[in-house]
Structure formats: C-alpha cells, structure tokens
Subunit: 513 residues, 2 copies
C-alpha cells in the first residue's frame, strides 16, 4: 500500500497568531500581510469583516492589511491580533488561525431594515444585541444601528423591545423579597454621590436595596470608584447575596455581574459620536435595573445648562418615556427632577467625594448641606415608592434615620459585610486656584470642572481631583481660593494647572459693582 501525501500540508493557509498589543476600542481587529495567500485567495480588502478560526472557536474581526512598508511587523506565517481579538481567541503556542469572509450577518439585515424604515420587534433586536455582546459587530456596524434608531425614531414598543433584548443579553439577579428598591441618577453632575447615603438610610428602614454601580466612563468618579476608597466593591455574586441577606443592601461594583452587558459596548460608540438618543438612554437605564432584580426604581434627573439634561421639557419627556417602558416591563418608577446648575458637595474625585459622603453620614458640621439634602430627597422618594410613608412623613422618617445615627451604623455594617471600612486617602499634593478678582460666583461649568479633576488624576489616582471652595452666589475677595486641586503626582498637577490656566470660564466671577 502506498501513502499519498498531498503536496500542500494541511495547514498551508493557517497563520500563527501574533499579539500586537494594539487597543482598538474593543473592536477585534486582525492584521494580515497583503502578500498572504489567504488575502489573494479570499479577495480580502482592508476593513473586510473576516471570520477567524482556531479550529474550535471562531470570532468575527475587522481586517487591516499590512502593506510592503510594514513587512517587518509580521513574519510571512503570522497574523497580527488586536487586544480584543487576542482576548477572545486566547491563543496558545500551537494555535494556527484560518480566515474566511464573515458569513452574512442576520443582525445587519435587521439594521438595514431599520435604516429603510421598518420597525424592529424583539426578535430582531435580540439578534442585534446578542451580536453586540458577542462582539460580532464592528464599530461601524454598531454606529449604523445606533444612528438608525436615533434617526428613525423608536416607538414606545421598540424601546421596550430593545430594553427586553438588553436584559436578555446578560445575567439577571433575583431576590426572594417581592419589593426590591433601586435608584438611578441620569448623570452629568460632578460630586452627586448620593448612593452611599441613600442605601444605608433606606435599608436601615427595612427596605431591600442591592445596589450595583458602575465605575467612571467619562467622569472623574463613578459611584463604584468612590465606594472603593472606603470598602471592597468587587464582590462576586455569592458575596453580594450574603451581604444583602445580612444587611438588606449593598454598594457593589456591577461590572462583575454581567448585567445588560450590551450597554457598555453601545455607550462606548455613542460617546465617539456624542449622541445619546432617548430610546437608548431608557433601555440602558431600565435594562440594568431590571437585570439587577429591582422592582421599584427612583430616577433622579438633574437639569442644568452643563448637565446631561438641559431643560425641564427635556427632563419631563425623558421621564414619560422611562415610565412607559418601565410600566411595560413591570417596574414601578418614580421620577425626581432636580437642580443641576452646579456640582454637589465639595469634592470631585473618588476619595474627595467619599469624604463628603462620610461627613454627611457622621453628621459633621463641615458636611455639605446640598449633598445631604439631595440624598434625603432621593431617600424620601425611595421610601415613598417602597410604601413606608408618604409626603412629609417620608421626609421626616429619612431625616430621623440620618440624624439619630442609624444611617451611619448601617453604613458601617454594610461596609464590614463587604470586607471592612477604611478611611479614604488624602492626596499628597494640593494647589489652590485664587480668584482673579473680587465679585460674585455667577457660573460654574460642570464639564470643564470634571475635565480638570480628570487631568489631576481622577479616577485612576483615587485621592486626586478637586475640592470646591465656593458655590454659586458666594461673594468672594480677589485671591480667595475658588477650589483646590488634589493630585498624587507632580506631572498630573501640572497638566491640570495648565488646563485651568487656559480655561478661565471654569468658574465665572462677576465683578462686584
């Protein structure tokens, strides 16, 4: 018997994976040499969508093509992988990759249907959202979906279907209690850190509030960043459940729970475009709450010229849309429209905000009154929605819990259950910005202030950020500090100072007449 060996080895078209280390904003990208036989064979062009297989797993990636000048980057038998592609394929030493044109995408057919005016039901929306979560869509394709939804107007039914699809795309928490409360603030207000005050107040009153929060995406601090400066936040599901069973609530980072995982991926692309349509916002907020197992949710919408929502009309419209979808998915929702004209509290940055929170809970004289009053208003709304008391009685109830120390003791207990309570740190470097002239503080730009805090190092440097020394309407002398920068590194302090020097509109002082 003669063994016939094929002239071409079985793996002739297969390439060795090479980690390029390039972060392409979570989009899997592969780089192939233009002279790779597979490029010719498949007729690949730059930005083609290609299926990459290691024999067991297959991912869809965007193709970049390496031209002559870059030949040194890849050997003839190598394929380059971006960080996202590398993470998804997790290649080992013996991995060999094969490439073909990505099969036609069902979800992109649905996106095209939406582009050309057809309403999408829950089944096509699920197909799209599931592909987003599996990272089978490129940023260009996700953009097409988001823009088609924003331009084509989403009906209430479509918004609800999108919300359901997003809930379905991830894990869900479930609780044995029939009434589980939650709160959410439609962002844009630096320092508005009410959650770590509201949770102990309402759980001290017997409500169940298994609060999960996010880390900052664009802001100087997310609630999880702030809480992480005084206790552990990266709880696994079992620990989270144990804390809630023991204390009625928690203050955990939601990232490990995989609740509505499509949300982060969509938000990243929305940020590239600076669009945030109402339907996406409703689906984003409500899918996270429903996936967390909440039954009753208070939504706080701060309104102000440099807040996310800029007018009362816009806030009312958004609240109506939230309510319609909340009703449809069986969530009880109460809205609070609040003042968003200036930052809340004094600190902006993880630890700086934590100090404000703890001062309020410990009823210290220097505690920022505005943060305390906002937290009490939210807590009262939660208590009302939870059916414990209504109107003035709800406000009296929550204030009593804060003032008699029950909230502080509950806060300590939750932190201990989560792994211990520690004092938030203090930055080694500070620099005060003196007022250029005497007058009255007439405007504070939330967005520029947030940017200054980020340049100073927040949130990756937890004690960095800034501490406001004035509020709107304050009369000040020339040279009196407007705020104090906090930083952990000299370089970052300098970056923030340079930024402040070139942005005098950050805090506006109207000359006294």
């Amino acid at each position: 018997m003669t063994t016939v060996t094929s002239a071409a080895p079985a793996d002739a078209g297969a390439l060795r994976p090479r980690r390029l280390g390039i972060d392409t904003h979570r989009e899997p990208v592969v780089v192939l040499r233009a002279d790779a036989p597979v490029c010719r064979a498949e007729g690949f062009e730059a930005h083609a969508r290609v299926a990459v297989s290691d024999g067991s797993r297959e991912i869809i990636a965007t193709l970049d093509i390496l031209r002559g000048a870059g030949d040194g980057l890849l050997a003839a038998d190598e394929a380059g992988l971006s960080e996202a592609a590398w993470a998804m394929l997790a290649p080992v030493a013996t991995t060999r990759l094969r490439f073909r044109h990505a099969p036609p995408s069902d979800s992109m057919s649905h996106v095209r249907a939406k582009i050309f005016g057809h309403a999408l039901g829950e089944t096509p929306l699920r197909a799209i959202i599931d592909d987003v979560v599996a990272q089978r869509l490129s940023n260009v394709e996700i953009t097409a979906f988001l823009v088609a939804c924003a331009t084509g107007d989403m009906s209430a039914a479509e918004t609800t279907a999108l919300t359901r699809a997003m809930i379905h795309s991830g894990e869900r928490l479930s609780w044995s209690q029939p009434l589980v409360v939650d709160k959410h603030c439609i962002g844009g207000l630096p320092g508005n850190r009410t959650t770590p005050i509201v949770v102990p107040i309402v759980t001290a009153l017997g409500l169940i509030m298994p609060k999960t929060s996010s880390r900052a995406i664009t802001s100087p601090a997310g609630t999880a960043d702030t809480v992480a400066t005084f206790t552990r936040v990266d709880l696994d599901r079992e620990t989270l459940r144990r804390v809630v069973e023991a204390e009625g609530g928690c203050m955990a980072w939601g990232g490990a729970m995989h609740l509505s995982p499509a949300d982060d991926l969509l938000i990243r692309v929305e940020r590239l475009l600076e669009i945030d349509s109402e339907a996406q916002l409703v689906a984003s907020v409500l899918s996270k709450k429903a996936a967390a197992g909440s039954t009753h949710v208070v939504i706080d919408i701060p309104v102000g010229p440099s807040a996310k929502v800029r007018s009362l009309d816009e806030a009312r419209h958004l609240l109506a849309a939230l309510r319609t979808t909340a009703d449809a998915i069986g969530l009880q929702l109460a809205g609070l429209i609040s003042d968003g004209t200036q930052p809340v509290g004094r600190g902006i940055g993880p630890a700086l905000e934590a100090h404000d929170v703890i001062a309020v809970l410990q009823r210290r004289s220097e505690a920022p009154a505005d943060l305390r009053e906002r937290a009490l208003a939210v807590a009262a709304a939660v208590v009302e929605l939870g059916g414990l008391a209504q109107g003035e009685a709800a406000h009296t109830l929550v204030r009593a819990v804060l003032e008699d120390g029950r909230a502080w003791r509950k806060f300590e207990a939750i932190c201990l259950a989560q792994g211990g309570l520690r004092e938030p740190g203090v930055a080694p470097l500070t620099w005060p910005l003196p007022a250029a002239r005497a007058g009255v503080v007439s405007a504070i730009d939330n967005r520029l202030l947030a940017r200054a805090a980020k340049l100073a190092g927040a949130p990756h440097a937890p004690t960095a950020g800034l501490r406001l020394a004035v509020r709107l309407g304050d009369s000040i002398e020339a040279g009196q500090p407007l705020f104090v920068l906090h930083a952990e590194h000299q370089g970052e302090l300098e970056y923030a100072r340079d930024f402040i020097a070139s942005h005098p509109a950050l805090v506006h002082v109207e000359a006294a007449r």
Copy 2:
C-alpha cells in the same frame, strides 16, 4: 548675562513618526504607547479623535493605543502611523509630531442635527462633504452621516444640495461646446461594457463625449480596466483636453481628474454596510457627470434579480429622483430601463470584455449580438438627447455608423490620440466548466459569476476572468462547457475552481423533460 535653559526641551512631548504599513481602509490612524506622556496629559482613550501636527500641517486621526504587550512595536519616542496618515503627513527625517484632542467638528454637529430630524441645506452639507474629502471624518463618523441620510429620508432639495456639495468638493472640467453628452450605467451587470462602443459611434456623428470612467471597486472590471488593456487611460487634464479637441471624445480613467472626490470615500463606507440609499446614488452619479462638464446624460438602469436594481418599480422611482435633481442642477437626462437578467457579451474580466468590444466594432461574426444591441440602444438614446435624430431615425443612424466602419475608425483614432491601440492579451491558463447534466440554462447568478472572475484574478490580472459559453434559454448537453475560466496564475485558477465547485447555483441548468 546668564542663559537659562529650560529643564524640559521644547520638543519633550513630540514623537518621531514611524510608518507601520497598516492599511486601515483610508482612515488615518495613529498608534501611541499607553505610557506616552501625551496620552496621560490629554486623557486620550482608544478611538479618540486626535489632531496630529508636524508644525505646519495638521491632520485628524483615530487613535489606537499600544498596551504593554506590544511595546516592541514602538520606541518610547515614536508614534505609529497608518498608511493613510503617513500619506497625508508625508513626514521627513526631522519631522516631530504633536498631538491634541481634535477640535469639535462642525460637520459632526450637522450630522447630529440630521440624526435628530433636521433637514440639511447646502452649507452644512458642504461642510460635511469637504471634511470627508479632507479625511477629517472617521469611518464611524461617515457611517453616522450615511445612515442618518438613509434613515431620515432626504428630500429632493436635500439630494440636490448634496449633489451640489459633492460637485463643489472637487475639480470641474469645462468645455467650450454648449452640448456635451455622457452616459452612465447603474452597475451590477457583468460584461456590460458599452462605453467603448458608444463613444466612437456618437463622436463619429459629431457629438462631444469626453468620457471618464472608473476602475473596478467591487466588480471584476471597470470600464477603465477594460480600456486600459488596449490603450492608455491615465491621461492628465491637458492630454484629455487635446484628445477631446482632436476627436470629439475620449475613454479616460477619471481618477486623476479629482471629479467629486467625496464619492469614492462615501462608497467605500457604504460597501462596509451594504447600504446604498437613493439620495446617495443620485448624488454620486450626477455629481460626477456635472463635474465632468456634461450637459446631457443617458442613464441606463439594468433590472434583474441579481442586478443592482431588482424591480421595474425601483428603477422608475430611481429615474424620477435622478430627473428631479438633474433638472435642478441644469443637466438634461434621459433614462433607459434595460434587461438585467444575465451578463452581457461573453467575457467577464478586463481583456475578455475588450475582445468582445473590439469584435463588435470590427463587425466580426463572433461578436456578441446582445452587447452590440445594448450599445446601439444607448448610442441611439445619446443621439436623441443630443438632438441629432429622434425615434427610429436615431436607431438607423447609429447602426449605420457601426456597420459602415466609421465607429471602428473613430475608435482607432481616439486610441491613437490617447497613446496607441494594442491587442488585448490572452490568459495562459484556461479551464472549462462542464455542465453536470443536459437541459436548459434557466438562471445565471451575476454576483457569483463576478466573484468567480475575481478569484481567477480579475481585474489585477488583466487577462483573467471567464468567458461564458451559454446564455439563458440555451439547450445544452451534459459535459458541454458552461463557461471557461481564464487565469494568469495556477493558484488563482485553483481558487476560482474551488469556489465554483462549492457554488453549483452559479449557472442553473433545468433538466430537460
């Protein structure tokens, strides 16, 4: 006097450009190391839009960030550039690059306005199109524009404004003659190479037809690819003008003329999404014609199940939209709706199509009758639109010019003026596909056929492609060839054969009863 030297050199933040050789589909991309001080200072994240300056020029690019694993890719003082970024900055040895956040884009404000339901006038559309041409918009941003237009519906006024903006974005040709004719075929039909037959016919009759054509984008051959197999097509403006003055017409590649340069960039992104909205199609076709200085244009729309336009209704709707905008910009337009159910002629691929064209012009017996008749129909429509004759008389006129050899002599004269006429080549490798059974040819899939021709090497291998041996309705024997593959390289012949083997629906033979 003491000279004080700053501790930090002036160029501390500047980086040396490094060509990565990566083709990112014409989007300028820069890669910075995560540990580059400028990333921290500016708070850059992956896929941020950054302004890159060499001190004199500034481009806008998309940022990729190099994480630890890829540190070897770039030295600490280097920034990596994609091919598009490299071409735009054209750095020299001493170039040092500085980076900052891209300034807010006016054109993206207009795109957001369109997303949120506002109609766009010519001024905002010009801002967008000019930014597309200057490559100041990312593929994600161009996607947002295209999808907003497709989803939001473009009024006739918006389509016209878009067409004007696209004309304005590039160069324009102008002619001293008051009547300048042109033709355009709304693509999708392999082998439909009427242009090199129509140009000599109508110019022999005294009309002015300075035809510029494109190379293939997705098809196995563009008109310019076919013409390039028998004469020179990359004429500069002066040569083109001289040829037209001498002969009344030309068959040139339009790429060097910079006519409506936004078009190619938009089409590349539309292809990623497989969308092609009517407004974009109208603006694409008419802007190129107007920029070429045409006054009278015949539009041929083949209709068929695997053509670009799939129904008569769709063709009529498109023609009405084309006419509205043509009227508004002062173009005379005539439409031809034609049969698009099967390829035209026998050859598919640059040289194979050229042989068909030359056979028709030389009145050879083997010349494909369908190509001849289609070319005559288009030429008659051009002659009618040009006012030389109407109805049957126009058809008689163009047939006479072809049949008495005037068209062939004019073809020779134009080719000589363009730089000489040569015989198109013949591929060294051929392989016939035998019919699996006897019967009647009942369907031919234009798209699959085009793909097979491309795998065989067309258009980069000019003699590659395929030559059909049958047409719809032909009765055939088992084993009789359906078509013959032509290739320049054994490997490409194999790729095409493999593809054909796995796509039996390419040519459908209905068993004889």
